[in-house]
Symmetry: C2
Subunit: 206 residues, 2 copies
Amino acid sequence: MTGPPLALGVLVSGRGSNLAAILDQIKAGRLAAQVRVVISDQPNAPALRLAADQAIPALAIQRRSFANQESFEARVAAELEQRGVELVVLAGFMRLIGPTLIDRFPGRIINVHPALLPSFPGLAAQQQALAHGVKISGCTVHFVNEVMDGGRIIAQTAVPLLEGDTVESLSARILAEEHQLLPLVIGRLAEQIRAEQVSEDGSSQG
Amino acid sequence: MTGPPLALGVLVSGRGSNLAAILDQIKAGRLAAQVRVVISDQPNAPALRLAADQAIPALAIQRRSFANQESFEARVAAELEQRGVELVVLAGFMRLIGPTLIDRFPGRIINVHPALLPSFPGLAAQQQALAHGVKISGCTVHFVNEVMDGGRIIAQTAVPLLEGDTVESLSARILAEEHQLLPLVIGRLAEQIRAEQVSEDGSSQG
């Protein structure tokens, strides 16, 4: 890949296991990216400590500290922009985002969802899958637009349901696949973004 | 498996490639079933000739020959019942069926659908999948209720979409999986149905 590592901003609400998977791939030299900032809407999210432990700027930005969704998102966008973030990764970020943030990173926000979209968007996707009785679920990485879990799909992995599966056992198997898929997709997008930049540089010389 | 081969009635509208797959498995001795009758709502369906060529009763029953959906379904049900059909298989049958038929074969009607339900029910499922941009589709065998493609799921197979896929290429790969999955499910149901009968016989002796 040409150019510096892709600058990532990771938005989280909880454990940050997908964040950990991204950091592991970076450390192993298999992902040409750098996490510039981790932002959580939950001040107690373990993901913040995970980031801080690796000397990555870790911010808690609570929605309730702002008058409205727009000013909350404007603050998040400002934190991302001032650190030069090129790709925003929602990794277990449990809040719907709107145009204020989306329009400042057009085509540069991705999310990972624990189902094979368009099946089971929204909350508790694994429980939805179990309740529906599907035999195959999975995970989806997609671009974020203003429809919840509705943006263009980038990649998916299928996960079979097993006899006796619970929400916990199914969630764990899907999560293991998320940890594989999300860094892969980030790597692919990093290559595309750098390739586009090279091509733009080339054409501007013409 | 205990007992005679499971008596099948197969409902078709077109080529009958899933019918052919069922007949192949029966001939190969891998499926303990017997196709007692093939019924098509389309008189020119190639599936009818396929059945007739193997000396299987093949009937064209057109909806327009009946005053209403109920009398059409009653006739279909009568043809199935008089041949002792135990399991009704919709194999490319392009017509929604209602309570008249469903209530006469409770829990004994299955359908194969070319998508991973609940994604993409209804017509042109492969085209829907391509248009939505999913990376994984597949096929589903499910029990039939009065909601189109809405009954309880029995089995599913995932099929990845490939770069450059067309409706034709995707449909062909999904169909190849249907040909594997549908006979497998019929075999599993045959074992369950015979096992239930043995258990009922046993308990009636008590």
